[in-house]
């Protein structure tokens, strides 16, 4: 069974929601990424998203754009990130998910990429610029290697939700707003209504992401979904830390603060 499925099964038994942090692999460097992943897991992160840095992240706001730039400046690339994952896997079985733009996979070689994901222990991938219309080829390859391709929906998806989640694996990534990633003070979408609509189409665990910036917001949306994804708010802590120790301390505190409200 995929680590993601096991995790959601376990969380359901414990009556908890999943805390899913996102960090960019290689920001500020790949060694810190290893330490951050381990620290976040200990702080309560249930599934961890690793962003593959890309020059033109269309779906991302300034925080993640800058994070990507930092990682690229420091030489992050897919082959090195795969090794980082291997290193992580020597110490941890936490479910790991890549967030990766399609051109990165395409240029690397689709089958090569998916095979390596499977080999190093990546459980799933999220591709923000690949809608279902363009997924036919990659779904076959992902199925072949047992890597989940995470379905992604937005508030504008409406009737598309059915096809998108059909035969979906892992969880549904529910983008919270019409917008790009980035810390927000509030989310104007009616999340309860939105999550209810999704539930009508699928029984998959629903993970809500984009704009969730603190424990209050996590608590507010907790009743309507099965997982809370936090990206930019964590990346800000990574960017603001003066040194590695401070970064890990601040991120760990933040992650445990959010996990706390997702328990019970």
């Amino acid at each position: 069974m995929n680590r993601i499925d096991e995790k959601f099964k376990l969380l359901k038994e414990k009556n908890q929601k999943a805390m899913i942090p996102f960090i960019t692999a290689g920001d500020p460097d790949l060694d810190t990424t290893v330490d951050l992943v381990i620290a976040m897991e200990h702080a309560g992160a249930d599934i961890i998203e690793l962003g593959i840095p890309y020059s033109d992240p269309l779906a991302d706001g300034v925080t993640i754009q800058q994070s990507s730039t930092r990682a690229l400046k420091n030489g992050a690339k897919i082959s090195k990130i795969m090794n980082t994952v291997k290193e992580i896997r020597e110490k941890s079985q936490v479910p790991l998910v890549y967030l990766v733009y399609y051109n990165s996979i395409f240029k690397y070689g689709m089958e090569k990429f998916i095979e390596e994901c499977s080999r190093v222990g990546i459980d799933a991938i999220i591709i923000p610029d690949l809608p279902i219309e363009e997924r036919k080829d990659i779904i076959d390859v992902a199925d072949k290697y047992g890597v989940y391709l995470i379905p992604l929906i937005a508030p504008t998806s409406k009737e598309r939700i059915k096809t998108i989640t059909n035969n979906g694996k892992g969880f549904v990534y529910c983008v919270s707003t019409t917008g790009v990633t980035g810390v927000r003070k509030e989310i104007s979408t009616n999340i309860e209504e939105y999550m209810n609509i999704v539930s009508q189409y699928t029984k998959m665990p629903k993970a809500l992401g984009f704009g969730i910036s603190n424990a209050e917001m996590a608590k507010e949306f907790k009743p309507y979904c099965d997982a809370i994804i936090v990206g930019s708010a964590i990346i800000k802590k990574v960017a603001e830390g003066k040194n590695k120790e401070e970064v890990i301390e601040n991120v760990t505190k933040f992650v445990s603060g959010i996990k706390e409200v997702l328990i019970g």
Partner: protein
């Protein structure tokens, strides 16, 4: 509608805009079958834009080059000064028809920004233009024009601060304001249905050329040359001739400081297949799939991608794409100024430069048509500096 040209094209777009793209395709198909829509579009093209534009026999230039006959398709004579208005007008009319209250656009040289701001002023829509901060500086005249027409011009500082980054920012803004906003794409690129729509709105160029050349010469041209950035003026003039195999189609790309340097934007010459801005096409990327920073003296050609229909025409060998350096383009710019008294856009000068290369090698009975995609008022400062005029 098929969103593919061979393997190129497609819709590699964030889920948030997918329903909007699907709606756009449906509405576009309805609009072009609606006689009233077409009539209104043609009315404004004629009465407001000033079409049809002349196909001008450049006698002085032809004699100077000593070979074939050179005709210039005068898209520079359109209202707003370039071919961009053909497409901006069509898309803004569609936006209005769909009840959108706000239009946004990216712009490189500023001509598409000006055209969109112009159409928005005409049809009373809110307008925001995204422009790289580097381009804002080198095409300042157009920035003033856009603001004067009532558009908000937003400087894009991310990435390289040029056209590709302006497209990124426009798309991000579109995702944010998806309900009330129509994205007026300025070139034959982006996710389907944009490459098809833009080509359809620009094909008036090629359709007119066909009619005009048959009137003047009784036969089709031997060569059609146009500059290629994203590819809108070129696909507009090429498209009606694609089935006429005896007509050679040549696209002139920006080779900047040379294709053997890292300072160019010659996407088809030096690029490889990838996915950018919602489409599968040729892109300039490094071995890790990171999109490369590009350079050209011309803001409008300074783009690391190209329209998917061009990628396809290249692949099947129907069109040829040649690199033209900054220096060759600047020289061509001055040649046209001095021989015909026409100041061309630096973008269009790339097409002229290719004509200057091949015309002397052709027989006097050959016919070459160059798409003069825009006028060069916006470029005189840059060129004057380069040549110390």
């Amino acid at each position: 509608m098929n969103g593919r040209f061979g393997k190129f094209g497609g819709q590699y777009a964030p889920e948030t805009i997918m329903n909007v793209l699907i709606e756009l395709e449906t509405e576009y198909e309805k609009a072009i079958k609606d006689e009233k829509f077409i009539e209104e579009y043609k009315y404004y093209l004629k009465e407001y834009v000033g079409r049809e534009t002349p196909l001008y026999y450049a006698e002085n230039l032809s004699k100077k080059l000593g070979g074939a006959k050179v005709y210039l398709k005068r898209e520079d004579l359109n209202h707003t000064g370039a071919h961009k208005v053909n497409n901006a007008l069509g898309q803004v009319l569609l936006a209005r028809r769909m009840g959108k209250k706000r239009v946004i656009a990216e712009t490189g040289a500023g001509q598409h920004g000006v055209a969109t701001a112009t159409a928005a002023a005409m049809f009373d829509l809110e307008c925001e233009i995204f422009m790289g901060e580097e381009d804002i500086e080198r095409q300042a005249l157009n920035v003033v024009r856009m603001r004067m027409l009532g558009a908000k011009v937003t400087a894009v500082t991310s990435g390289t601060g040029t056209l590709k980054d302006a497209v990124n920012e426009a798309m991000r803004n579109w995702v944010e304001e998806i309900d009330n906003t129509f994205y007026v794409m300025g070139t034959a690129a982006g996710p389907h249905p944009y490459p098809v729509m833009v080509r359809d709105f620009q094909r008036v160029i090629g359709d007119e050329v066909k009619k005009q050349i048959l009137e003047k010469e009784g036969r089709l041209p031997d060569y059609i040359i146009a500059c290629v950035g994203g590819g809108s003026n070129s696909i507009g003039i090429f498209y009606p001739f694609i089935e006429d195999k005896e007509v050679a189609l040549i696209g002139a790309e920006a080779a900047g400081l040379g294709v053997d340097t890292d300072q160019h934007a010659a996407t088809i010459t030096k690029g490889s297949v990838g996915v950018l801005h919602g489409m599968m096409t040729y892109v300039l990327q490094d071995e890790d799939g990171q999109i490369m920073p590009v350079y050209s003296i011309s803001a409008g050609l300074d783009y690391p991608g190209v329209g998917p229909e061009h990628a396809y025409l290249k692949e099947i060998g129907r069109a040829e794409y040649v690199p033209i350096t900054d220096k060759e383009a600047v020289d061509a710019f001055m040649v046209l100024c001095r021989t015909e008294g026409i100041i061309p856009a630096i973008e269009s000068s790339h097409a002229l430069a290719e004509a200057i290369k091949i015309v002397p090698t052709l027989d006097k009975d050959k016919i070459v048509v160059v798409n003069l995609s825009g006028r060069g008022d916006k470029d005189v400062d840059t060129i004057a500096k380069v040549l110390s005029i």
